[in-house]
Amino acid sequence: MKVGRRKFLRTGSAALVGLSLKTDRPIRGSFVNDSFQMGHLLRNRASFPPAKRIERFPVVIVGGGIAGLSVAWRLRQRGFTDFVVLEMNPEAGGNARWGENEITAYPWAAHYVPVPGPKAAYVRELFEDLGVLKNGQWEERNLCFAPQERLFLYGRWQDGIEPAIGLTQRDRDEFRHLEELFANFRASGEFTIPLELGRSSKHQDLDRLSFADWLELQGCRSRLVNWYMNYACRDDYGALAKDTSAWAGVHYFSSRESEEKGPLTWPEGNGWITRRLLERVGANVRTKQLVHRIAETKRGASVFAGDTEFQSEFVIFAAPTFLAPYLVLGFPRLHDFIYSPWLTANLTLERLPDSRGAEPTWDTVFLDSPTLGYVDATHQSLRTHVERTVWTFYWALADGTPAENRQLLLDKDWNYWKEAILHDLERVHSDIRQCVSRIDVMRMGHAMIRPAVGSVFSEERRHLTRRDTRLLFANSDLSSISIFEEAQYHGVLAAQTVLDNLHGHR
């Protein structure tokens, strides 16, 4: 009797299913946060309006990214409020900007900070201020939830990004050999964060060859080892191993204790830190202020933004340093500042795609993809049930020269990048086109400093970290690597230098 009834129902439901056609969802989106137009005005030395107004601040900070905001954080923390931060973009944050839609907040670039080691004292101090570090304990909700990372390879998933399945004995030996080498470098105490605190001439020779060449010298032939080393360089430096200084390559693996706790992350990535910093220093930040000229004066410097001249005793240049020759009168050309172009995209998903049975993780990487995979913005959600989400897709355009890739970013339309991204994801998530409703793409021609061969021990760079001038530099590119801790370190240091000198004056 049951059979008859079930059959009857099955026929009925089959008829209904037949009515709903399987179609791809229309995918909307656009380029967002474009800022190259303004950069090009500076490059082409366009004429800017003459100053109509004068404002006076003892301290003017150019650039409202993490470096600039960290200057502001330290100044206010020390009770000094008579300063202004000038930010070109409509939103402060730089590489720690974020976006938000009805589903979640999501990052536009940097999305985590590894649990800082003992040397990163300023970062620890900041996290104590933000309530992330309490009585020596890291706030559980700010640590990346498990499961954290997965790699898709050979048609299946593995935990973690370092390839661990399908390895030959040779692959294993090479991984182990490198692990030992990195452990020794770590033990040397020279590969630290902040980088400046450990760096010494002892390993300066590493800065004279590329990481790829160094790996070859160590006898690394394994395809998987090389893939992983290149992935690391693309991820942190936006460059291939052959375009990265061996010193920087080693630093990536030797600067942190193998820490099972971290990293620290939030739905909007490091945008969360930007938000907290803006709560503290937002009153001093002015956005949409395109600085177009900085002229040193007898008693300091004048900063021209729009039709205002900001007269100051100290200028802290926290914007990317490569802009200095275009802004600062009489500034020499720079040679050791090369930047990697990047593309990030935020994908709105109406449902989770087929993931071949795996539980979602925070970070997902595909073996042999030119991209860096994606990070799930709702991973840090406390909900047990998530239907819609946002993925932040990362793509360092590392293959080819930065100039070529910047041109590519300018030449190709949104549709091109949309298709490229979906094509990449489709290899693993076959139904991704039925899940995504929106893809917003952010193009960054000079996304992060590239630690090219010779740049870690660059004389030019050392010269710019001088503290005895009225124009101080503070961007993370002074360290030749673009990470949160370096930006914050240089920002705080610059603030302290200025505070010392201001007090000295009075």
Partner: protein, 498 residues
């Protein structure tokens, strides 16, 4: 006489609608696919009413006499329709055939009623008044029935007795009509006797409905799976073997009706009975209402807040007759307040404080559920504890998942709570464990509510003793960033099944 007449219009309209709703609801319960059932039944019913109306023109003499007989027929057929359909489902192969035949017959009879009534009263009123009054009361009756049915009838009386009650109304209207129109009727005695016979039959039916339902159900649910649905959140399956009703969520057994009292009494009473003057209780998870049933045994409790993710679960356990029987209609208690929300964000955003908190989630089988077993979650939950409050956590089996059980206990400890683990034997689960947690020392209860089948004061202290094979193990706490528990749980149960 006018108003009395129109009240009978109202009553017969209500009866008509009730039979239709009973048929639709029963078919939905038994066969599933409620949209399909209601659509086809309403359609067939309306179509049959049309036939009835069309046929009414062929009746030209003795209208009142015929009206009385129609009411009696409807009383019998409609009144017993629900019982008949249950039997048909349980004992025949032709449930659908009988269902639609019955709907057709009732529809035709109901379709005859209003045209006949209009013609009966047409000489007393203007035509336009007849139309206006009769239709007004017709629709009023329909409204009344449609509100009564879900609010009062189904929860209080059930489908079988609701139909019979309205069968009685039909028969009552028949009897009443013999008095209202006694001047236009011949053979009133025979009619009245017939009315009384029908009334008696339905009355006996009402009294005996439980047995009818039971007889039918025993056969209906000889099948293993009696309910299966993919809700937005989980796969819900209800099975029955003889008198054992079992609920599975995503294939994990949640309870067996034979021994769930052991689980739920153990979950609630060692903790709740130890709280001095408890007034407000929070239940996280527990969409089956069985924990609430136990909590309701404390008259001094003013409110029970249930937070369960899945509205389909809480609705199922508020309406399904077998399930409300099991949980004693716990969710219909005015003291129970159901919120359908994800527990962690709810705990984070809510600010109320509670004297007793019951944490009764499914086992940590995946990372999503694992979040609800972390120090972060327990810290957030403990913020809701009143000064004298206690919290109890279902903590999987200390026997089969010994690591997991002690990991949960350690997690509660790391969240800054004092812990008191205990365990019970539930035949369908095996040894099962709970952890009481509090910010103050725990003193065992000195009295318990009456009528408990498992927990008693004498046996209480034994629950807190762990024999060597379940004895405490040193385990790391489960945290959001490590989620050691999920892997641990997987390994624990892998060992059991191998």
């Amino acid at each position: 006489m006018g108003i009395l007449l129109f009240i009978s219009v109202l009553l017969v309209a209500a009866c008509g609608l009730i039979y239709e709703l009973v048929a639709g609801t029963l078919a939905s319960y038994l066969v599933g696919d409620s949209v399909f059932q209601f659509s086809t039944i309403i359609g067939t019913y309306l179509f049959a009413m049309g036939i009835g109306s069309a046929l009414s023109r062929y009746l030209d003499r003795g209208l009142v006499y015929r009206f009385v007989w129609i009411e009696l027929l409807l009383g019998v057929i409609g009144g017993f329709s629900s019982a008949l359909l249950m039997m048909a489902f349980a004992f025949t192969q032709g449930f659908e055939l009988i269902l639609y035949a019955l709907v057709m017959v009732m529809g035709v009879l109901v379709g005859l009623e209003i045209p006949l009534l209009m013609r009966i009263v047409r000489d007393r009123y203007e035509f336009r008044d007849v139309i206006a009054h009769v239709l007004t009361f017709d629709y009023l009756g329909a409204l009344g029935a449609s509100l009564l049915f879900p609010i009062l009838l189904v929860p209080r009386l059930g489908l079988v007795r609701s139909a019979m009650l309205f069968g009685l109304v039909n028969a009552g209207v028949a009897l009443w009509t013999t008095y209202l129109f006694s001047t236009q009727l011949s053979g009133t005695r025979t009619l009245r006797v017939a009315c009384l016979v029908v009334l008696c039959a339905l009355g006996v039916g009402m009294a005996d409905a439980r047995r009818i339902t039971a007889t039918a159900e025993d056969n209906i649910y000889a099948d293993d799976i009696i309910f299966a649905r993919d809700t937005r959140y989980q796969h819900v399956v209800l099975t029955r073997f003889k008198d054992d009703l079992r609920l599975f969520l995503n294939s994990h057994l949640q309870f067996s009706s034979r021994d769930e009292y052991r689980y739920h009494e153990a979950l609630i009473h060692p903790g709740l009975a130890a709280v001095p003057a408890p007034r407000h209780v929070l239940v996280l998870g527990g969409g089956d209402g069985l924990a609430v049933r136990e909590i309701l045994k404390y008259p001094q409790i003013e409110s029970i807040t249930v937070v369960d993710l899945d509205p389909e679960m809480t609705t199922l356990f508020s309406t399904h007759p077998l399930l409300t029987k099991l949980n004693d209609k716990a969710f219909l208690s005015p003291r129970a307040h159901i919120t359908n929300a994800d527990a962690f964000p709810w705990v984070d955003s809510n600010t109320e404080s509670f004297d007793f908190i019951v944490i009764d989630f499914p086992d940590p089988t995946n990372y999503s559920l694992g979040k609800l077993y972390t120090t972060a979650f327990y810290r957030a939950a403990a913020r809701h504890l009143s000064a004298q409050g206690l919290m109890v956590v279902q903590s999987t089996s200390p026997m089969f998942a010994r690591d997991s059980f002690w990991c949960i206990a350690e997690t509660l400890k790391q969240a800054g709570l004092e812990t008191h683990p205990y365990h019970v034997y539930v035949p369908s689960f095996g040894e099962w464990g709970f952890v009481l947690a509090s910010t103050r020392a725990y003193t065992p209860p000195v009295s318990l509510p009456s009528g408990l089948r498992f927990i008693n004061l004498e046996g209480l202290s034994a629950l807190f003793q762990f024999p060597p094979d379940m004895a405490p193990l040193a385990m790391p706490p489960n945290q959001l960033n490590s989620q050691v528990l999920v892997r641990m749980y997987e390994n624990d149960w892998k060992d059991v099944s191998h």
